[in-house]
């Protein structure tokens, strides 16, 4: 008989701390991917603006709207809408995006690992090739990149030192291990100022 499907966290323990740096599994949020149909982007943005006061960011960044909605550019011509658990995001988006975009529930497909603390950039820089300098990758920035060999959506949520790695759930344990090892390796001397 097959094992029953049991809800389990994507990584355990859900938070680890090394030398003042913390790596924690983010609370699960409702996530819906939005893929606009051809030539529908203006109408879609108008609909989102009227309902949530936010439009799909044209660059790789995250914007916030009403009711805790966040819109992140997640790929070429694809965006993620996030809202806290229980927000009923899909039910709100379906009538709004009818005929304008393909919607897919991504809530269980990705998880976000949050690296927080002084030196988070130096640790992340061991794994990702993008320039994390504050003037280049400031609060609200997002980048599609690789962390080691694992595709991630990297983002800097706000001004507190830290980065979020959003990753396919099936890669979460590998990525968690890689970041944990990078944390234990410490801050490179070249990054100490």
């Amino acid at each position: 008989m097959p094992d029953p499907l049991l809800p389990k966290p994507a990584v355990q323990p859900s938070s680890v701390t090394v030398n003042g740096l913390t790596l924690a599994l983010a609370q699960t949020r409702e996530t819906v991917s939005i893929g606009p149909f051809a030539k529908c982007l203006p109408d879609l943005n108008a609909a989102l603006a009227s309902a949530f006061g936010a439009t799909l960011p044209a660059d790789f960044s995250t914007t916030s709207g009403h009711d805790g909605l966040q819109l992140t550019r997640a790929a070429h011509h694809q965006w993620f809408a996030h809202a806290q658990a229980g927000a009923g995001l899909m039910a709100r988006l379906v009538p709004l995006c009818a005929g304008l975009a393909a919607l897919t529930n991504q809530t269980d497909s990705r998880v976000t690992l949050c690296l927080r603390g002084t030196g988070a950039d130096a640790v992340a820089a061991k794994l990702v090739p993008v320039d994390l300098a504050p003037d280049h990758f400031g609060p609200g920035s997002t980048a599609l990149t690789l962390a080691g060999h694992i595709p991630v959506i990297l983002s800097r949520p706000d001004v507190t030192p830290g980065l979020d790695f959003t990753v396919f759930r099936s890669f979460a344990r590998s990525l968690h291990h890689d970041i944990h090892v990078a944390m234990k390796g410490g801050i490179p001397n070249s990054e100490r100022v």
């Binding site: 070429h76 090739p129 980048a143």
Partner: protein, 95 residues
Amino acid sequence: MRLNCPHCGERSLEEFTYRGDATLRRPAADASAKSWVDYVYLRDNPAGRHEEYWYHGAGCRAWLVVDRDTTTHRVHSVRAAGSTSENTRLNHEHA
């Protein structure tokens, strides 16, 4: 070398894979064998500006058309393959 991806911004060369000549056009099904041999096997090695396909595997995973000078390595433009500008150009060439 760095490429300014229209989706991701300026990224280093290691993130991209060269995917060949972007100026090749598939011959008509009834074209001569010579045209097909040319299309399938023969490649020019131009000195100067040339359009190439590059794949942004470590970023947006999109195919791009890079207009690059093979003698100076100056990159004149990078655009999404299949973008309006490319289709416009193709239609123009075929007109």
